[in-house]
Amino acid sequence: MRVGERGIAGRTPWILVISTLLVCALGIWNLSSASRPPAHPFWINQSIYLGVALVAGLLAAAVDYRHLRSLAIPIYLLNILALLALKKFGHTAKGAESWIALGPVRVQPAEFMKIGVILMMARFYDDDFRPEDDSYGFLRLLKPALLALVPAVLVLVQPDLGTFMMICLSALTVILFGRVRGGVWAVGIIGALAVAFVVWNDYVRDGGHPPKTIARHYLKKHQDGRIAGWLDPEADPRGTNYHAVQSRIAVGSGGLTGKGWRNGTQTGFSFLPERHTDFVFSVLAEEQGFVACVALLFLYGVLLLSILWVASHSRDRFGGFVAVGVASMLFWQIFENIGMVVGLLPVTGITLPLMSYGGSSLVSVMMGLGLVVNVGIRRSAY
């Protein structure tokens, strides 16, 4: 293992590490309000998980990532196996078979699958590199698309629509980053317009009785309700739209400086659902206000940009793609989660990285960040 002259400490991307730790600290402080008495003090559990996650992150940073490159395929296959095993040994909670019980610990394979996909995609883009032909047409995209879609579909059937979307969006970002041909762009844009048309036709247009819908009737009732609620925020505030409405009230009522730590009424009087998991950002927004929200978004921004800085300085193409994969994964989770909390996007079960309660998610994010640190430590000399 060769490390540059400045030594490990000198090559560690400290900005990335510090912003990560700051977000984690903010997260635990916020969780201790979200899970204030008489609720179970989840922040204590989360602190323990954070310790575990930091160890996992250190491990991910320690082993030279170029070894991991050769391990990418076994890691990927192992994760796929774990997802398949869910079907047999899965533990059902909230309607989804997402957990595997390993003794006292329950893990969510889908969270780790993300890391597997990131490594596998990076490996593909490294192997497939042709300096003379740097842009991808349909045929050449088949393989990376399959590499992402197979695990994504396995997640979708759990059913876990949120993680499915996250894998797809992250993979798409990586694919776009890997550069695609004009034709692919064109088809992509037409596809996006078609989806927009379907949504308009099924939800916005008054389609007569019975309404002629294209895709709406295939959706499950709660999914349908969330899209409808997203497009019409005032509809059914007690039913399908309850989460979205209460979350917006929590965020909005926080104002500029918030109601104060553990003083949030939406949180304290239980109007806000899922306050320590999916809607943890609402708690921060309600109690700490706009100022703290911007501070958190700033920290996330610093984190994302420092990952990209590491990527741009990586020794090789593999390292760059790993870092881009991790950044995309983080970005889409942040964007979708906060977007849902503030009513920009429909409600999906996506946690906020480093802020939401949940061990598996924390460990997988830390492992991803560990990989990025790994790439940073072993960057080329210049």
Partner: protein, 665 residues
């Protein structure tokens, strides 16, 4: 590990900047949205969040009382315990709470379905925080049951609410009125200046309760409670947070012109199944007592009245919901003869001494109009005609004058038009004239109509109150007053807020000397042998009155006795009078529907009222208002919870929430 050729990764350099820019743009979009929510619209959302956890609970204002002229309480408030459901806090309403209530409160399926639909509809609107009353007037047992299970019945409240208490039951029911719940339609109506109403509030529906609603209804207060998403109340927290309570303002008390002592006498003395007694002060037009029988119990109509009970009230052939004082009209019979007499004297064709020979009837053309005395009264003048109620004299007047002069005097005295009482709806009755018959009678007007009208038969119809006002005007020297039921409105401490003064409508054009002849006739009716009410005279009090026996059915050839006819065919018995004959003070009209003869079946009631009135004049009047304990409303202490029936609880998952990382999918 060896370096790969071509300086790999260099081609990616420019793309990092693009990706970074895209990430920053995404985060800025979120920041912008947060700014809109938290800074631009922060105040609105702060209000919405307050509305979430602060439950406004109206404190009902004390409704004003209704009293008689001497301060005796006729209507006040009593505490009742009502059950409410707040849809916003009742998450298992339709499938758990309401069915449970249905079982405990004996609702039928229809009622349950109605409640479920109502709560469901409210739950979807901004009204979901308004309480929906599910039961008024809980019994003690029902209340214990509900209070001890309140924990299980999320969103249910039991609250003490003042309810109306009509102390006299059916007595004066039409005049006092009753109350019931405001309807959805009324709630949505925007009436400027109307006091504020909430769902479940009661409004006056008839009589004084309705007409003086704006005075009687106070202004509801408001207190606030902090509640969580499950509807659990944090007692006292709102006060700690400095949220103020708005005190209710009590409604004003209504003082009527009624004298309950006289009312009691009239109620007791009135012998009929159906009918009316009206007592007015001839000097002001104030109504001192009014009986309308049969009546209804406003306590029942204001409380838990079932649809079936209501239907029965509506279907009753005796129409207990109709106020006979002003809302139904009847043939006045011979009591109308004073009008014909005045019309005759006003014309130049008749003088008090004008004598008509009664041979038991009067011939007009080929038809003979019968006098009630088959053998005839012989030669009678006006005074005698009134005293013995000879029809023939009045037939003669009608024959000479026609119908229009009679109608003119009738209308001057207030017949054929609403009295303007105001507090209770009143109908106009009928004062027929030629134009009326041309319009309403097939074949149009002919002389015979005026003969019928002259003796108070045919189409002429009066309400008992109209007739009372006619006799009052006759007694007071020709002043026609607007009848009056409400004297003043005052605050709880007795401060007078508004006084209703007597209102003089018209003065009669008939000269006093001529009027005196008619009054003399009426005195003779009661006080001279041969008068139709001579048997009912009172010692020491000169009453001037007139009996009436109004035919309901056309008489056949055989004259049946009252007992031989079925109820609906019997004559109406009337007696209309005032006293003392010199300088009269009160006028009394008694209508005993299908009761028989005026002299025997109506006059005694009137005499009892006169007697009592003048007895009471000798007594010192009751001073001031009746002392009253304004009710204090408090929930009784919560009973201990009964043993809970064990229900299989869903087995909790191992550490249920601790592992939950996802929202409901």
């Amino acid at each position: 590990m060896t370096l790969r050729p071509n300086n790999p990764g260099k081609e990616l350099r420019s793309r990092y900047a693009w990706l970074g820019a895209a990430f920053v743009a995404g985060l800025l979009l979120l920041t912008f949205r947060l700014y809109r929510l938290q800074v631009t619209h922060g105040a609105e959302y702060a209000q919405k969040s307050e509305a979430n956890f602060i439950k406004p609970i109206p404190i009902p204002a004390d409704r004003g009382m209704i009293m008689d002229a001497n301060g005796r309480i006729l209507v006040d408030n009593r505490p009742s315990f009502d059950a409410f459901v707040t849809p916003a806090f009742c998450s298992r309403c339709e499938d758990h709470v309401l069915p449970q209530l249905a079982e405990w409160l004996d609702w039928d399926e229809e009622e349950l379905a109605r409640m479920q639909a109502l709560v469901k509809a409210k739950g979807k609107t901004s009204e979901r925080f308004q309480r929906v009353p599910v039961r008024v007037d809980l019994t003690r047992d029902e209340m214990d049951l509900l209070l001890s299970h309140q924990r299980d019945l999320e969103g249910l409240d039991v609250e003490p609410v003042p309810h109306r208490s009509y102390r006299a039951g059916t007595v004066l029911s039409h005049v006092l009125g009753y109350m019931n719940e405001i309807t959805q339609v009324e709630l949505e109506q925007k009436v400027p200046g109307r006091p504020e109403y909430h769902l479940g509030d009661y409004v006056g529906r008839r009589g004084i309760e309705r007409a003086l609603e704006e005075y009687l209804r106070g202004k509801d207060g408001l207190r606030r409670e902090v509640v969580d998403a499950h509807g659990r109340v944090f007692k006292g927290l709102a006060q700690q947070l400095g949220m103020d309570t708005i005190k209710p303002e009590a409604g004003l008390d209504v003082v009527t012109t009624l004298d309950y002592r006289l009312q009691e006498t009239a109620e007791k003395a009135f012998p009929g199944v159906a009918g009316a007694v009206v007592v007015v002060d001839v000097r002001t037009g104030s109504i001192l007592a009014v009986v309308s029988r049969p009546g209804f119990d406003p306590n029942v109509l204001s409380g838990r009245v079932s649809a079936k009970e209501l239907a029965e009230l509506n279907k009753d052939p005796l129409t207990p919901l109709i106020f006979r004082g002003t809302q139904n009209h009847f043939s006045p019979g011979s009591t109308f003869k004073v009008v014909t007499a005045l019309a005759a004297l006003q014309s130049r064709h008749f003088r008090p001494s004008t004598t008509v020979n009664c041979s038991g009837g009067y011939k007009l053309g080929s038809r003979r109009w019968r006098c009630h005395k088959e053998s005839g009264h012989g030669g009678v003048d006006l005074r005698r005609a009134l005293q013995v109620s000879c029809d023939t004299w009045f037939y003669r007047v009608a024959d000479v004058l026609g119908i229009n002069p009679i109608a003119k005097v009738g209308r001057e005295l207030g017949l054929g038009a609403p009295t303007g009482l105001g507090v209770v709806a009143d109908i106009s009755g009928i004062m027929p004239d030629e134009a009326y018959h041309a319009r309403a009678t097939p074949g149009g007007y002919y002389k015979g109509h005026s003969l019928n009208t002259a003796i108070g038969q045919g189409d002429v119809n009066v309400t008992p109150l109209q007739l009372a006002m006619v006799y009052a005007a006759l007694g007071n020297g020709g002043k026609v007053y607007q009848p009056q039921l409400v004297k003043r409105v005052e605050a709880q401490d007795g401060t007078v807020v508004k006084t209703f003064e007597p209102k003089l409508l018209r003065e009669l054009a008939v000269p006093a000397a001529l009027r005196k002849v008619v009054v003399d006739g009426l005195v003779a009716v009661v006080n001279e042998p041969g008068g139709t009410a001579y048997s009912q005279r009172i010692k020491g009090l000169e009453v001037a009155g007139k009996t009436g026996t109004a035919q309901v059915k056309k008489l056949g050839d055989v004259r049946l006795k009252t007992e031989q006819m079925d109820y609906w065919s019997r004559d109406h018995a009337w007696f209309a009078a005032f006293a003392p004959s010199k300088d009269p003070e009160i006028a009394v009209v008694v209508l005993n529907e299908h009761g028989g003869h005026g002299g025997t079946d109506a006059a005694p009631t009137a005499m009892a009222v006169f007697k009592r009135y003048f007895e009471l004049k000798g007594e010192p009047p009751p001073v001031g208002r009746e002392p009253v304990e304004r009710i204090a409303l408090k929930l009784p202490p919560r009973p201990p919870p009964p043993p809970v029936r064990k229900r299989p609880e869903p087995r909790p998952a191992k550490k249920p929430a601790a592992r939950a990382e996802k929202a409901a999918p």
